[in-house]
């Protein structure tokens, strides 16, 4: 019986990304030694996320209320919208501390071969936002790969008729890398995106 429940926990844990059988075992046996309160806190945090987390009605960030924390923050510049593919991308941009506007999460990127057409993303909602609110700039921060690039181009076209500046984050060489090791596409994009210093 005891064997059954611990085995069950291990199996469940291996469903998480980056967790193999060995790590799952280690975590499971650690949980056995935890106090009941701390173990229940983990379980509760997981159920809370599943029960309460939903998408912000404005930007599709993850939140537990109608509007996410960023959309509610009065100090943020509402004239700038940074468009990202996934809610987790917001955390990364926030960590860079280089942007103080609002976000818009597309919840994916265009990939016809996988059946992901623009109507499956939150693009029309973005267009509505730009039309309705006084937005002066939309920054497209989709991934620098084919899907992200196609999505950026599609959005640029979708916003064409609206009076808004649309920009794309720059392509460049990763900081700390060596130019020797850059491939031709990355390097040509970095050259195209060069700027005066």
């Amino acid at each position: 019986m005891a064997q059954g429940i611990i085995e069950n926990l291990i199996t469940e844990l291996t469903k998480l990304p980056g967790i193999g059988r060995k790590t799952a075992q280690r975590l499971a046996f650690f949980m056995l030694t935890m106090s009941e309160d701390s173990a229940k806190a983990i379980a509760k945090a997981i159920t809370d996320v599943k029960e309460k987390a939903r998408f912000c009605s404005r930007c599709f960030n993850i939140t537990d209320s109608e509007l996410c924390e960023i959309c509610r923050d009065e100090s943020r510049d509402k004239a700038n919208i940074c468009v990202v593919e996934e809610p987790s991308n917001i955390l990364v941009v926030e960590r860079a501390k280089a942007f103080n506007g609002l976000y818009h999460v597309l919840l994916g990127s265009i990939s016809l071969i996988d059946g992901i057409t623009p109507d499956k993303l939150r693009i029309s909602e973005l267009v509505e936002r730009v039309r309705g609110d006084s937005v002066s700039e939309v920054i497209l921060a989709t991934n620098p790969n084919t899907k992200g690039e196609m999505t950026a181009q599609y959005i640029k076209d979708a916003l064409k008729s609206l009076n808004v500046r649309v920009t794309r984050i720059a392509y460049g060489l990763p900081i700390g890398s060596d130019i020797e090791f850059a491939d031709e596409v990355t390097l040509s994009k970095a050259l195209e995106g060069r700027r005066e210093i």
Partner: protein, 243 residues
């Protein structure tokens, strides 16, 4: 065992956090899927070489029968970046990538299909606004894998016919047609266009200037034929018509 070949990336699928499963059409092994470790990380040595369309020299490692060998190297020969730079070009090409990935079995070399895709991509990169390359690819690809619709004569008797029956994958002449339900009617001009696109040298294709209607007629017939053979429509097909 380490194997080396040349390949064109047809598609990639996310695997875990930063890994990818890459589908290549290769010159020596046909369609293969490999596992690539961490290409999505910024400092990955794969760089941009796993983006769709990229033609590169690749090495992969795994037992002969391993269903997911590991991609160890990918050095770009041609990036086809100019196609990826334009949304409408890439959307058009998506359809032939999907067609290829959907019809070909894995691990069966078909060098002619590989060369066809490479040639069509080269032509498309020169000017992707030309509408004929996509249809041409569909026709020749289906031909190479034995699925081409037959338009040069009745499936029964070989006589000329203009009624195409999806279920037969062929035209059927007026005499043999009795008792059969509604076919796709084809004009003589579209049958001629089909013939030219099947045979003409790729470099001469831009001399063919069919009308919009003619092109649509042939294209619709081909798409119906593909849908029937595949038992589903191509996902990339419906959308790119918008452009």
């Amino acid at each position: 065992m380490l194997r080396r070949t040349e390949g064109i990336v047809l598609k990639t699928a996310l695997f875990g956090e930063a890994d990818l499963i890459v589908t290549h059409l290769t010159s020596d092994f046909g369609l293969i899927k490999t596992f690539a470790k961490s290409p999505r990380k910024i400092k990955s040595r794969f760089g941009s070489s796993l983006e769709p369309l990229t033609y590169s020299k690749i090495s992969f490692w795994g037992k002969e029968d391993a269903n997911l060998p590991r991609l160890t190297q990918s050095d770009i020969i041609l990036s086809f970046q100019l196609i990826r730079d334009r949304l409408e070009c890439f959307l058009k090409v998506s359809e032939i990538l999907e067609l290829t990935a959907s019809f070909l079995p894995e691990h069966e070399a078909n060098r002619k299909v590989f060369m066809l895709l490479l040639d069509v991509l080269k032509e498309t990169e020169k000017d992707c606004t030309l509408p004929l390359h996509i249809i041409l690819y569909k026709i020749r690809f289906l031909n190479l894998i034995g699925y081409a619709p037959r338009l040069d004569g009745c499936a029964n008797c070989g006589k000329t016919g203009f009624s195409f029956y999806i279920s037969h994958g062929s035209v059927i002449c007026e005499r043999c047609i009795t008792g059969m339900d509604s076919p796709i009617k084809l004009s003589p001009a579209s049958i001629k266009l089909y013939e030219s696109l099947s045979r003409w040298d790729l470099s001469l294709i831009e001399r063919i200037k069919p009308s919009r209607n003619l092109l649509a007629e042939l294209s619709d017939m081909l798409n119906d034929h593909i849908r029937y053979r595949l038992t589903r429509p191509l996902k990339s097909g419906a959308f790119h018509k918008v452009f």
